[in-house]
């Protein structure tokens, strides 16, 4: 695991020395700061607006970073041929892929921690100025779920990065991100398909796409219960189940990436 950690730290180092990342982070921090002003027009709901807009901002910036860095994680090593010096070292090829992914998770954890602290600060300011309930544990649960979501998106991006170009990988990952958010609507559509074999195939096909709605559910029904990351409906057991689903999905995607990477010729 020391070798995986060495590669993970190197990936983290690459991210923190990437100026583009700082631009995105600055954008996120400014956006979060502006939520305070967005909330001004919302009567008695200022804190809710700050929370909702803030969480959307963290999710979108986190997903953007996961996609645009994730699709280059493996591809760049192949394109710039840095992999030629690494593979002959005493590492397994799967350790290489895992190290890149763990490094990316570390990067995302730090970025989301910074964005979260910014949101907490804005909420604290809002709570002091406006009257309202500021339940921090709700926000923490929501942020943990968002982290689970970006971890899944990153795993999908790494999978595509192991065999295709950044542009194609980015388009495919973005597509999966969008489809993943509409899984309840798509399930309803599929349920209305008359042909049984087609319905079965489509249902099976839907399983391939990650259920990202699980991580950003808002006021809808999941498993017969109303759940929402914005309110108090999402409890810790829900976070645990969603986290387990995300871990399993990401593990399968990364395992596939390892299999593809293991058989590649580095010409």
């Amino acid at each position: 695991m020391s070798r995986v950690w060495a590669l993970a730290l190197n990936t983290f180092r690459e991210a923190v020395r990437n100026k583009v990342l700082y631009v995105l982070l600055l954008f996120a921090v400014v956006l979060l700061g502006l939520t305070y002003f967005f909330s001004q027009g919302a009567l008695h709901e200022q804190l809710r607006v700050i929370r909702d807009v803030g969480l959307v901002g963290i999710e979108l910036v986190g997903a953007l970073i996961a996609i645009f860095i994730g699709v280059n994680l493996v591809y760049k090593e192949l394109d710039r041929k840095t992999v030629f010096a690494l593979i002959p070292k005493p590492i397994h090829r799967w350790e290489f892929v895992l190290g890149k992914y763990v490094g990316m998770l570390l990067t995302l954890a730090v970025l989301m921690a910074i964005m979260s602290l910014t949101l907490f600060a804005v909420l604290a300011l809002g709570a002091a100025v406006f009257s309202g309930d500021n339940d921090m544990s709700t926000i923490v649960r929501a942020i943990l779920l968002i982290y689970g979501e970006v971890a899944v998106i990153t795993a999908v991006a790494v999978l595509f990065s192991s065999f295709s170009s950044p542009i194609l990988s980015g388009a495919l990952t973005l597509g999966i991100f969008v489809v993943g958010h509409f899984t309840p609507e798509l399930r309803e559509l599929v349920a209305k398909v008359e042909s049984t074999p087609l319905r079965v195939v489509l249902r099976g096909g839907m399983r391939v796409f990650p259920d990202l709605h699980l991580f950003y559910v808002s006021g809808s029904m999941v498993g017969g219960q109303h759940v929402s990351v914005h309110g108090t409906y999402v409890d810790w057991s829900y976070v645990a189940v969603a986290g387990a689903y995300g871990t399993l999905y990401a593990a399968v995607a990364i395992a596939l990436a390892m299999i593809i990477f293991a058989r590649r010729d580095f010409v």
Partner: protein, 303 residues
């Protein structure tokens, strides 16, 4: 003692393009590298040297054949722990400094942090980058990157050092320094396998040579054994009244008689040089034979 490297009938065929056109990059390459020798892998550009070395390093999967290093399958971690590799025209992470890159490589070999730092400093000094250790690699010249590449190949103090075109990008002083380093590695008991297309590098330091052309092994063995001892011609330079003329006498000519005649005519002998086959002659002969045989896939550009 068994061979350090054993390559047996290695072949590599690539399927390229939309129609998966087959390109045979390496055919039936077999050779061994013995302990504590400097083995030169010589061939023109596109001969298959890099493809062969990459097969040995586990970067490319052979289509056929097999290879063993230290008597073990090449992909075993225990094998990789004992070898160092310099890829051709090395590319490294440009956001790292030289010291950080060596630290990363040391970490992959399982060296503790203090030992990684110590070796990084020592290796940077050894390859002449002592003052550039903290500079980002994006600021390194090609020659500096080449030197750093050699340093990272030595970070684990390997028993076998494999260098793909180690003199590439270096000026004459740099090339001499790398040659001296290779000889030093042999003195330390290491085995060195390096590829090159520069004949003088091979002539000066190699114990044994393999010549690869068009993906095929043409010759392999000690240089003296590969070169024909046959006299090609004798070059005689005579100075007569301040004018020097050079003559090329055929191998069966009576050189003594020719010299006596020149002296009798009032000339002075400047030099007499018997010319035997050089590595360049052998190399050109093998390349031409490959072209005639149709085995080479390189295109000869005629001026």
């Amino acid at each position: 003692m068994s061979s350090v490297v054993e390559a047996e009938k290695l072949q590599k065929t690539f399927a390229l393009g939309f129609f998966r056109k087959k390109v045979h990059a390496v055919h039936d390459v077999s050779f061994t590298v013995e302990p504590n020798e400097i083995f030169g892998f010589l061939g023109p550009n596109g001969a298959g040297k890099t493809t062969t070395l990459k097969m040995l390093m586990g970067l490319i999967f052979p289509s056929q054949g097999q290879a063993r290093i230290f008597g073990r399958p090449i992909r075993e971690r225990a094998v990789k722990q004992r070898l160092g590799f310099l890829p051709e025209n090395p590319y490294f992470y440009d956001y790292l400094s030289g010291a950080e890159l060596l630290g990363l490589m040391g970490h992959l070999f399982g060296l503790p942090a203090a030992e990684r730092k110590r070796r990084a400093r020592a290796l940077l000094e050894r390859v002449g980058l002592g003052r550039a250790g903290d500079l980002a690699l994006r600021k390194y010249s090609k020659g500096m990157l080449q030197r750093l590449g050699i340093a990272q190949a030595l970070v684990n103090d390997p028993e076998l050092v494999v260098l793909d075109e180690p003199m590439s990008g270096l000026d004459p002083i740099g090339r001499k320094e790398v040659r001296d380093l290779i000889v030093e590695l042999k003195r330390e008991g290491k085995t060195v396998l390096f590829s090159t297309h520069i004949l003088s590098d091979v002539e000066l330091i190699c114990d044994r040579v393999a010549i690869v052309v068009g993906g095929r092994m043409r010759d392999v063995g000690p240089l003296k054994a590969l070169l024909s001892p046959r006299l090609l011609h004798t070059e005689v330079v005579i100075d007569k009244e301040g004018v020097q003329t050079a003559q090329r006498l055929p191998p069966d000519a009576d050189v003594d008689a020719a010299l006596r005649e020149a002296l009798a005519g009032g000339g002075k002998v400047v030099s007499v040089a018997p010319r035997r086959e050089s590595l360049e002659d052998l190399f050109v002969r093998e390349v031409d034979a490959a072209d005639v045989g149709g085995g080479a896939e390189r295109v000869k550009v005629k001026s």
